[in-house]
Amino acid sequence: MSTDETGHGGTNAEGPGNSAGIHGSGRYLIQLVTPAGERISHPEFDPWVQDISDEQLCSLYEDMAAVRRIDVEATALQRQGELALWPPLLGQEASQVGAGRALREDDFVFSSYRENGVAYCRGVDLTDIIRVWRGNASSGWDPYTINMATPQIIIGAQTLHATGYAMGIQNDGADSVAVTFFGDGATSEGDVNEAMVFAASFQAPVVFFCQNNHWAISEPVRLQSHIQLADRATGFGIPSLRVDGNDVLAVMAATRVALDRARRGGGPTFIEAVTYRMGPHTTADDPTRYRDANELEDWAAKDPIARVKSLLERKGLLTENLQQHVQDKADAVAREMRAGCTNMPDPEPLDIFKHVYSSPNSWLDRQQDHYSRYLASFGDPAGANSPEGAH
């Protein structure tokens, strides 16, 4: 959760040039660490993570472990009836932490509902992360406080927001970047494709970060596309990268390449992070209905956290001390989130009328007036004891 110490590779003047690692075919899978945790050298992408010190590597591990712990805790909270729903990102920690940690504070993120790991890297308050899933708000936080829009549920819609935001950055003459996260299924939506049209046409500083986690609820990625998703972008004139999404260093490198291009006026980049949704779509889903247990096993062997742990071990960094520290951190995070959840005050009935408009509206004001009279007719102006509506 150390946004400030990272993300500078992209503006590193010694980094490789603008065309780094772009493969028109998109078929090349960027990998810097093997599933066994072996660091393999890669002349093109190594320079983009050469500033990642041992300490930072440990901190990436810490973030990934914390994010996983958030998932586990939130799932438990859901099972205990404290949350209405939770969309786990289990298995996608490297994609989200690698990308999230590559960003600068002034970059702006437009994500879907699954990017709680990115939000964590942006420094989101742990209570804010679950407000929506508890049913206490439609946005957990003020987007401007962490420069990240709140979860978007309409598949793909946020990619256009990112593109528009990027057009604004461009108009402002700034070198920030808009980064949008979306899934493999989202690539089929018109909005995502139109976003690429606009991004390419205006050469807007936007990064399209697609987490190909192989599933859109019950639909396998091959139903959306027979070819690799990274190839989609090239048809719009947008360079693309295909990266091992379970390799946190590779993801960080690829994201930095894309950010750097955008900052330098080189326009959009599309990143396909190849990863896997190891959990259900949401806590309401039962993936055993539609997918093979073997597939899950295969991917468990590529677990992103196990991988970074192996890397640390090979480097002699996986001390007991570190493990304890990470465990403590994860515990603290989980504790804080749980406390935030159970202590969250219930909203007030009349809150439903707030913020529909930014100035008075005669229709709504009348309805609010009538409803508060209705609530008052139960002898309780705040409505706390009023009967609930639907039966």
């Binding site: 939506e189 609820i217 019950s218 409803y371 209705y374």
Partner: protein
């Protein structure tokens, strides 16, 4: 007669349509192996194959637009929109193509497309999963719009909708999916109540209460509660939202002289406005009081902790009944 859930009743209706007409084809997201997120299409792909029950890529405009092409080719596509809030990307294809093609081609091209839409709130979901978008479609000429309220109707009307040569928006009250009811699977479609007709589901003499979809149950409960207080409510299940069967509503109104309409959708421009305006037009001199609308508010659907305040419940409906009857109510003394 079999006891079955609402969801199962639709499933059985879909199965019949698939069996009876080889041109019927189901399309949507996750409707195949998974059987739909609400399991409404459970088992159908297994039994009818991937060419009859088609898992589509994730793109609603394309689902609707390819359904149009299939209709051109003589098919009867039954499209599932996973949740009400995801129908908007398909809005252009629905409004500019599905609704208009029969008219555009002077009857040459039929659009026997059924669009199944789980709608309404009350299930504790986040945004976009509890919308009531029906008024957008009832205002769209060329479409037929129905909303079912019980397993038997769900079973019968889905088959009538699929058999209709006109496009039909078929709204399913998702919070009632698990409700059970008796279903006669041997129902004869030709003699069953046509899908464009309303039904009086509880007789009464003091006030006419019009509801549809999820609120029919609430309305009936309200009628039961009111009868304890000596108020006799006639409950009408609209069933068809476009066209509204005004003959049935009118007959009731002429008897009661008072009208309450309820729906979950926002009040302004909702179907309640249309019913109130048309009934006022048709039987002004029989009205003893202004029609009352008990509806959702003019707000985006709120987060689930507060959704019960947005949704019309039994007490709010009864308060509206009191208003229609001129009895003391929460707005007493306000109106001039």
């Amino acid at each position: 007669m079999t006891q079955m859930t609402f969801a199962r009743a639709i499933n059985a209706g879909l199965r019949k349509s698939l069996e009876n007409d080889p041109k019927v084809i189901l399309m949507g997201e996750d409707i195949g192996t998974l059987g739909g997120v609400f399991r409404v299409t459970d088992g159908l792909q297994k039994d009818f194959g991937t060419h009859r029950v088609v898992d589509t890529p994730l793109a609603e405009s394309a689902i609707m637009g390819t359904a149009v092409g299939l209709a051109y080719r003589g098919y009867r596509p039954v499209v599932e929109i996973q949740f009400d809030g995801f129908i908007y990307p398909a809005f252009d294809q629905i409004v500019s193509q599905v609704a208009k093609l029969h008219y555009r081609t002077q009857g040459a091209v039929k659009m026997p497309i059924t669009v199944r839409v789980p709608f309404g709130g009350g299930i504790g979901s986040p945004e976009h999963h509890s919308e009531s978008p029906e008024a957008y479609f009832t205002h769209t000429s060329g479409l037929r719009v129905v909303a079912v309220s019980n397993p038997q109707d769900a079973h019968t009307v889905i088959q009538q909708a699929i058999a209709s040569d006109d496009p039909v928006l078929y709204f399913e009250p998702k919070r009632r999916y698990h409700d059970k009811g008796e279903v006669d699977e041997a129902v004869d479609l030709s003699t069953a109540l046509p899908m464009d007709r309303a039904r009086v589901v509880a007789e009464g003499t003091d006030v006419t209460l019009v509801a549809y979809g999820p609120l029919v149950k609430t309305a009936r409960d309200a009628a039961t509660a009111a009868s304890d207080e000596g108020v006799s409510i006639e409950v009408i299940d609209l069933r068809s939202l476009a066209p509204v069967d005004y003959a049935t509503v009118e007959a009731s109104l002429r008897k009661t002289g008072r009208l309450v309409i309820t729906h979950e959708a926002g009040q302004s421009g909702g179907l309640g406005a249309e019913v109130a305006a048309s009934i006022t037009e048709r039987c002004f001199y029989h009205l003893e009081a202004a029609p009352v609308r008990i509806t959702g508010f003019d707000i985006p659907y709120p987060y689930s902790k507060l959704e019960m305040h947005h949704l019309p419940g039994l007490d709010r409906i009864l308060d509206g009944v009191d208003r229609a009857l001129g009895r003391p109510n929460s707005l007493s003394g306000l109106e001039g």
